[in-house]
Amino acid sequence: MSLIRSLSAVRAVLMIATLALAGCQTAPWTRVETPDAITVTNSKRTFVPPAGWIRWNGAPSGVVVTRDGTPIQFIRAADMTHEQAFRAIRKTSNADLLPNELAELLIATRKAMPGMSGLAVTSNEPATFGGLDGVRLGLTYRDERGASFDHLVYAAAETEGVFMIEYHALSKHYFARDLPEFEKVVASVSSEKKAKK
């Protein structure tokens, strides 16, 4: 009898804990239903994700949305401090970086990523987006399995840090298909204050 009572108590505790966790935690993936602007984590920048895409709430940094899954394609927006942005190559950035210098750091960072090979620059030009003067950098690379990816990144160095919005997709079929969506997302970047968190 006492054992049954104990088991019931344990079950009750587990149920309460489960309910509490369900109440506290956000689902790992959320469909973007309405075209509301999202504020980038730790940033004043916002962007409008493509409707119907899925937001990955567990992204380690910045905001990540995908249509078919991150192994296939994703858009990521992130604002990093100058100390964080190029930590992988033991470099710090600053607000005075010219777009070509920023591109150089981005390329070196990508080259330092494990599992990436055959990195090639497809485009490298100054760009203005969201009111920022920055760079538009196109790259291709192969992953560990030999799959070819295209990567397009817009980045700008500001006083507080480096803001970037990037698009990765499998070169075959997906990159070209979703590129117009990405360019729309870039065009939506702004510093508006009223945005969905």
Partner: protein, 381 residues
């Protein structure tokens, strides 16, 4: 993923094989086919072939038929009894490094080929690596926690795929994996091969002195190459002793072939080094007393890049001087003009920036910085 699996499997195979290889394993006396070997060694050999395949697909190998053919001819001089069993390939890695897999595949880093001063220095490294194969060190090697740590450490030091890849390979093949006993054996037997091949034994000392100098300049206790090898100083002493009792070859080894293709390898190496964003090694190498004669005329541009990438404000004047020297020594080399244009543009000195920016566009109308340079010129107007 396949690559990592192959490397991991190779490491495990080495572990398994090592248990069975405790008894002294006699060196190969002739080229062997894997089928002639016992099953554990066959497995090690097979895994090494997987690594070869993965490396060839990685895009990190530098294909240069002329250089590879010349390296093959050096191996034949060093190991005539092994024919084509030892094959040398070139890896796009700026480190001064080389390694040998248990199946006789030797990988020579671009950073080594670009920096050795003569053929005998290169032959010293090739002989050493070749002995790891002929004496079956890959099969005999015993894995330990130290080796496992070496895998991670190596991957951390070098960057990108090559870093991850070589970090592991370094652990499993020659650089870190072999014991001091094996390294000493490779040095000693390799020295014998060097002499028999008609190379200058005194250069064996020079190549290790160069590694020591770089190691010290880069603030490393020992180079990655020699982290678990006998200490560099000890090896220099050994080679000095061996050289003292060895006669130089009657006919000096020709460096003509090396000198013919080394400039293009040096250009590749300098560009690779700069593209990885680290300037320290460029500064160290390109300020050596013989650098002006040893490296191609564009080298001062990369020295300037080295200063810039090092990121020390005190280097600014040296950086500008180096860029100017490059523009003078190699006036048609567009990147030197872009660099000078950018430096002056950042200093808001358009009068000095504009001519260089225009030179860049004239010399490299389709150059990678065209759009950026054009934008700077617009802003200067």
């Amino acid at each position: 993923m396949r690559l990592r699996r192959a490397i991991r499997a190779a490491g495990i195979a080495c572990l398994v094989a090592a248990v069975g290889a405790q008894a002294a394993t006699p060196p190969f006396e002739r080229p062997v086919r894997p089928a002639e070997l016992e099953e554990p060694e066959q497995r090690v050999w097979s895994e090494a072939e997987d690594v070869d395949l993965a490396l060839s697909r990685s895009g990190q190998l530098l294909r240069d038929d002329e250089v590879e053919a010349w390296l093959a001819s050096l191996m034949l001089r060093l190991f005539p009894d092994f024919g084509a069993a030892l094959r040398v390939r070139i890896v796009r890695d700026p480190e001064m490094n080389a390694f040998c897999l248990p199946n006789g595949s030797i990988y020579m880093n671009l950073g080594m080929l670009a920096r050795v001063r003569n053929t005998s220095q290169l032959a010293t490294i090739l002989a050493h690596e070749g002995v790891h194969f002929t004496h079956r060190h890959g099969f005999q090697q015993r894995s330990s926690l130290v080796t496992t740590a070496g895998f991670t450490q190596g991957a951390g030091i070098a960057g990108g795929l090559v870093g991850a890849l070589l970090g592991s390979l370094v652990g499993m093949s020659s650089i870190r994996g072999f014991s001091r006993t094996h390294e000493r054996e490779a040095d000693r037997v390799g020295f014998g091969r060097l002499l028999a091949g008609g190379f200058d034994p005194r250069e064996s000392v020079a190549v290790f002195q160069m590694l020591t100098a770089e190691s010290k300049a880069m603030g490393l206790n020992d180079t990655v190459f020699f982290a678990s090898h006998p200490q560099l100083d000890e090896r220099i002493k050994t080679f000095r002793e061996l050289s003292a009792v060895a006669s130089p070859p009657a006919v000096p080894t020709s460096d003509a072939a090396l000198q013919a293709f080394q400039p293009r390898l040096q250009r590749e190496w300098m560009a690779l080094e700069a593209s990885m964003g680290q300037g320290g090694r460029l500064v160290h190498q390109l300020t050596r007393p013989d650098a002006a004669d040893f490296y191609p005329p564009e080298a001062p541009y990369y020295l300037g890049e080295g200063y810039r990438l090092r990121g020390d404000a005190a280097d600014r004047n040296a950086m500008i001087t180096a860029y100017e020297s490059a523009a003078q020594r190699a006036p048609t080399f567009a990147p030197a003009h872009a660099a000078l244009g950018v430096v002056h543009f950042k200093a808001k000195d358009c009068a000095r920036a504009a001519p260089h920016l225009r030179s860049y566009l004239d010399l490299a109308p389709d150059g990678p910085l065209r759009a950026h340079v054009s934008r700077m010129l617009e802003k200067c107007r």
